[in-house]
């Protein structure tokens, strides 16, 4: 291709992207087609990848393919495994793609489709991808060190400790909130509960097969397992149709919460090969398949977007969660645009498998673009349903009422037309008793996905199967995050506990394993229980808390990245990480402040606690409910304290980093980079890293 031709092609892509974005932003009147969203997102991603990531790779990082990567230097076939670029892209994407980009945009749709969509695209291109890419690069240059180790070496010892605590805190809140999403999706749903419960014996069967019968034959075992899981989705309908079986699999929120807590503990304590690993294999296959099917379904059906660009809830009075667009749209979207958690995958795991430094561009920057696209698809699925239905599914009973009639009256009074019959009919069509008050994003996403899938294959007749397929897909990989996270959390607790009492850190010591598992499960289990009994549905307080923790971790990663770039004397281009870092600090500090101190009891934890205390004092609370209300007051104060501690940690890290930057600028301190020594690569150009040699 000649230069002029290339230029024309890229100019066309840029114009198409700008045109589609303009259409999304300016369109009023008739419902907009979802194709505009796909065109806008894909063109913006292509331009961002072609220009911005190339600029970062060449100017800021100066990626060097003559330098041997940790995978080449250490190549031990265990952690350090030279891996083909596209295979590693798949690995990395499967690791970073979790429930966040599906749930976050679905919740943020309460502001309308516009703010969330714009942030998903812009946030990913300018912040999320940048973070993933640069942290991956920094870790490659340091033999695959983790974010915590890099923070300790490059910022300060205290910085490393803060990063470690921040990771544990985010883990606890993350696990609680994703468990709550599952509880809200499965309560009073025998079909969904049966399907998910069946994944446990299926995983056990796979575990035994992979351990004793055909060790390590993951592909054949997983395909067999996926077939069984799909059968379980169909069999769920028979269970739901049988009164006695349906009763056995119908649980309320609290019972489900305790079942999930027991499952999390078992998964952390049992051998990995028995339950955790085979479930993860199942989840990876189903997750990848469902995401690509959703993309194909959206392109095939091209649904109309029924949600308005902006809703009245931009004023902060939203029923799904309280708070204005700034900062809560950004906090809620979280992983779809920027995710601090990705920095844990970009450091530690992926850098030990990368073949060439230049591959970091497509793996670090490119995989995050794909994750952002998953977020855009979730936004499309949520906004393609009538807004009245969206609010009925996602709003708590204490706001819209617990019956279809009450919900229809309340939601219609907001200006989003809804009749009770629609909700009853929809619940019946998807094989559920009710879809009301299922805050958490999973059911509304499942309804959106089911409508897209059933318009592609099967029509109305298969709507219930598709709905439960979507619920199973979300719940399955949420539980995978839950069990893998609980196990990792257990190791973190053991490591931290080992600083106080050494034997506690021994990973093979059974009392230590049981105690540390109980501590981590107890921590997230407490927040989960608190969310389940919360009259506002729990998601209202827990999701923003999770968003704040996640974005704070991203700020930690960008502080580390900025410090390293300063030490590398890249002052001229430092805005690449400094601007997103400053933005994240501003967003998280504002959100933390509002969540703790805002005078509106629906938003501020402390004012909610005070209003409940006042209600007890004035006799508005029935005597039977006083103990429960005291518990709610304690929980609100606990949430305020957790938010405060998270905010304080990032402030301390920021002060540490600023002191470090000042010392570098003022010449008081010679900047010391802790990079591994340069080793020239021995691999020929064109080596692809195939396990079977090159072909």
């Amino acid at each position: 291709m000649t230069g002029a031709f290339k230029f024309i092609v890229w100019l066309s892509v840029a114009i198409a992207g700008a045109g589609a974005l303009g259409a999304i932003a300016m369109h009023r009147g008739e419902p907009l087609n979802a194709t505009w969203f796909v065109v806008a997102a894909v063109c913006c991603y292509l331009v961002a990848y072609r220009l911005y990531s190339a600029f970062i790779a060449a100017r800021l990082l100066a990626l060097d393919d003559t330098r041997a990567t940790p995978a080449e230097v250490h190549d031990d076939g265990r952690d350090f495994v030279p891996t083909n670029k596209w295979v590693l892209f798949g690995h990395h994407f499967a690791a970073i793609a979790g429930p966040g980009p599906l749930v976050g945009p679905t919740l943020a749709a309460q502001f309308g489709y516009l703010p969330g969509t714009l942030w998903l695209i812009a946030g990913a291109a300018l912040a999320g991808c940048v973070q993933d890419f640069i942290i991956l690069f920094c870790s490659i240059r340091r033999d695959g060190k983790t974010l915590g180790q890099m923070a300790r070496e490059e910022v300060s010892a205290r910085g490393g400790f803060i990063a470690q605590i921040a990771v544990l805190a985010i883990m606890v809140i993350l696990l609680a909130v994703v468990a709550l999403v599952v509880v809200n999706a499965l309560k009073s749903s025998p079909w969904g509960t049966f399907t998910l419960a069946m994944t446990i014996p299926i995983a056990l069967l796979l575990g035994v097969y992979l351990r004793f019968i055909r060790p390590g034959r993951v592909l054949e075992a997983s395909l067999f397992g996926v077939a069984l899981v799909l059968f379980a989705v169909v069999a769920g309908q028979w269970v739901a149709d049988s009164p006695s079986w349906a009763r056995a699999f119908t649980f309320g929120g609290v019972s489900l919460a305790f079942l999930i807590i027991a499952y999390g503990f078992a998964a952390a304590v049992l051998p990995v090969w028995l339950l955790l690993a085979p479930r993860d294999y199942l989840s990876a296959f189903i997750k990848t398949g469902a995401i690509f099917s959703l993309a194909a379904g959206i392109l095939f059906v091209r649904p109309h977007i029924l949600m308005p660009p902006l809703t009245k809830f931009i004023d902060g009075s939203g029923p799904v969660f309280a708070g204005k667009i700034f900062p809560f749209c950004f906090i809620t979207i979280a992983c779809g645009a920027v995710s601090g958690f990705h920095s844990l995958i970009s450091s530690g795991t992926t850098p030990k498998m990368i073949l060439r430094e230049s591959h970091a561009r497509v793996i670090g920057y490119g995989a995050m673009l794909l994750e952002s696209f998953v977020g855009v698809m979730a936004m499309i699925a949520a906004c393609a349903m009538p807004p009245g239905v969206y609010f009925a599914i996602n709003s708590p009973a204490s706001i819209v009422g617990g019956t279809p009639e009450a919900a229809a009256t309340t939601i219609s009074s907001w200006g989003y037309r809804l009749d009770a019959q629609t909700m009853t009919q929809l619940a019946h069509s998807v094989g559920e008793q009710t879809l009301l008050n299922r805050a958490g994003g999973a059911p509304s996403l499942a309804v959106g996905m089911a409508q897209i899938f059933s318009n592609t294959i099967g029509g109305e007749r298969l709507l219930s199967i598709w709905y439960h397929f979507a619920i199973m897909f979300e719940a399955l990989f949420i539980l995978t995050v839950l069990d893998a996270g609980t196990r990792v959390g257990r190791f973190m607790v053991q490591e931290l506990g080992g600083r106080v009492w050494k034997p506690f850190a021994r990973t093979g010591w059974m009392p230590g394993i049981l105690l540390s598992s109980a501590i981590i499960v107890g921590m997230w289990g407490y927040f989960l229980y608190q969310g389940v009994v919360d009259p506002l549905g729990g998601i209202n307080s827990l999701w923003p808390l999770f968003g704040i923790a996640n974005q704070l971790l991203a700020a930690v990663a960008l502080v580390v990245a900025t410090t390293i770039l300063l030490k590398m004397k890249r002052l001229r281009w430092i805005w690449v990480t400094l601007v997103p870092m400053a933005w994240l600090v501003a967003v998280t500090m504002t959100a933390s402040y509002q969540k703790i101190f805002d005078a509106n009891p629906n938003l501020g934890f402390l004012s909610k606690a005070n209003s409940l205390t006042a209600a007890i004092g004035s006799g508005q609370i029935a005597v039977a409910k006083i103990a429960e209300t005291h518990r709610l007051i304690f929980n609100q104060r606990l949430d305020a304290a957790v938010t405060g501690v998270l905010a304080l940690m990032i402030l301390v890290l920021l002060v540490e980093a600023l002191a470090q930057w000042y010392a570098i600028f003022s010449g008081h301190k010679e900047p010391v980079l802790h990079e591994a020594n340069y080793v020239a690569t021995k691999w020929a150009e064109g080596f692809t890293g195939s396990a079977h040699g090159d072909d």
């Binding site: 034959r217 993860d280 995958i345 893998a484």
Partner: protein, 68 residues
């Protein structure tokens, strides 16, 4: 002639896809381990397929490997 070329190309692409899939899902991990240069110089006896499988997943699930 052209058909033959297309068939050859398709066969090669399918083979690459199959190998990529095996590597992505972990099927090829043991072969990787056996051929790893660093391991060959450091260890005298390689682990069996079963030992390697258990050791590998124990390591993998001891650090953050699934995101939100």
């Amino acid at each position: 002639m052209r058909m033959q070329r297309v068939a050859k190309l398709a066969k090669r692409s399918l083979r690459r896809f199959w190998r990529g899939l095996r590597e992505w899902c972990g099927d090829a991990a043991y072969e990787r381990y056996l051929h790893a240069k660093g391991r060959q110089s450091a260890e005298q006896h390689a682990l069996s397929a079963e030992e390697f499988y258990v050791e590998q997943i124990n390591r993998r699930y001891s650090r953050p490997n699934r995101c939100c």
